[in-house]
Symmetry: C2
Subunit: 203 residues, 2 copies
DNA sequence: GTGTCAGGTATTTATTTGAATACCTATCAT
DNA sequence: ATGATAGGTATTCAAATAAATACCTGACAC
């Protein structure tokens, strides 16, 4: 992107700051005063330059019609669910315990949610009781991926392996046996999502 | 907070949506059209009602002067630092590798940063090589807390114990010995911050 | 019945605002 | 020297806009 002059940078910051503080962009005259300038044309030129360089878009004929461009995608607040019932989609989430921020780079626009982990079945994968798991909603998975598996309405975090004619859900805990499902047992089974992140509190 | 009528809820949603899409609030006339209404006074009354009920603030005499209230604190994007040099404050952070979202409930307004963990010295505390550590900037700590310790300009993540006349930095790894500092060794030592969260990627 | 309130129409007015014109002053590369 | 560019002053004008006035409708409580 074309570089900004010091003055243009200053104007852009003034606009950003005004939006931060008031929730709407400044008018040309307000920018005049903020900038300590006595001409509206000076402002207009700056806006045109900033628009030409791609930092904002001016809505013609609209008061305060300044739309900032290149705004980094802001983090979403995703629900922390206590239980994951039924199918996979978002409406199946029950008992929202609260909300937690998720970096846009984590979700990449995909449908995700947080799950509070209970139990030590994945302890050897570094997942502890009480951890917060960021889960991407999806109904399939690759072998070896950690998934939120739904078995008869119960959610559990396990490693997923599809083998000949059966599915193996492998805990990461030497004290526990894998869950094997074959034949009619597969009916009550589905994948709610795949584990993306683990967030742990040390406070 | 006083409840909204259906119509008022609709107006509030229209305003929020307009701000989302354009970066600035709608004018009275634009709201008129969106709402399918032929009177500006109807809009004015709705705005007054929403203002009275505390959902927004209207800047008198200012076009599009609508400031939404009750905006939830948005997640900040904190820098991921590769090395933590010198003192403790933010300007001492070097080599910004990128940025990552932080929930406002994590930082609670405190000065924080992310640190990419290297090494397995804290493996038994569930902290692995490559994990992302959310660190709260502070220069003191309680016994047993996990801190980012600065030793002669090198950053390291250890459990902190202040004992008689010395400081012990305890790894969580049976294969490693604690770092003991006493006397003149204390000169090159400081605490950069305290561990708040660990974030791990499972992608 | 009567008052209150949410919601509405139609119209007018004063102000805010974007946009334009004409012209000026530096800096800088050619 | 000369043109291009960033930045500026002073002034004007028309459109966008907030705000006000007078009045209407229906639901609902008392």
């Amino acid at each position: 992107m074309e570089p900004l002059t010091q003055r243009q940078q200053q104007v852009l910051e003034l606009i950003t700051e005004h939006i931060e503080r008031h929730g709407f962009p400044p008018s040309h005259r307000e920018l005049m005063l903020s900038l300590g300038v006595r001409s509206q044309l000076a402002i207009l030129k700056h806006l045109r330059a900033l628009e030409r360089k791609g930092h904002l878009v001016c809505q013609p004929g609209s008061s305060r019609g300044i739309t900032l461009a290149n705004r980094p995608p802001r983090p979403a607040m995703l629900p922390i669910v206590g239980s994951v019932r039924a199918g996979s989609p978002a409406e199946a989430l029950e008992d929202t315990l609260g909300y937690c921020a998720a970096d846009p780079a984590w979700t990449r626009g995909a449908d995700c949610f947080y799950l509070r982990v209970s139990g030590d079945s994945m302890i050897e994968a570094g997942i502890q009781d009480g951890d917060l798991a960021l889960v991407r909603c999806q109904s399939t998975a690759e072998n070896g991926e950690i998934v939120v598996a739904m078995i008869d309405g119960q959610a559990t975090l396990k490693r997923y392996y599809r083998e000949e004619g059966r599915i193996r859900l492998q805990p990461a805990n030497a004290a526990l046996q894998p869950i094997i499902m074959e034949g009619h047992q597969m009916a009550g089974f589905s994948i709610a999502g795949r584990l993306l992140k683990i967030i742990r509190d040390y406070r």
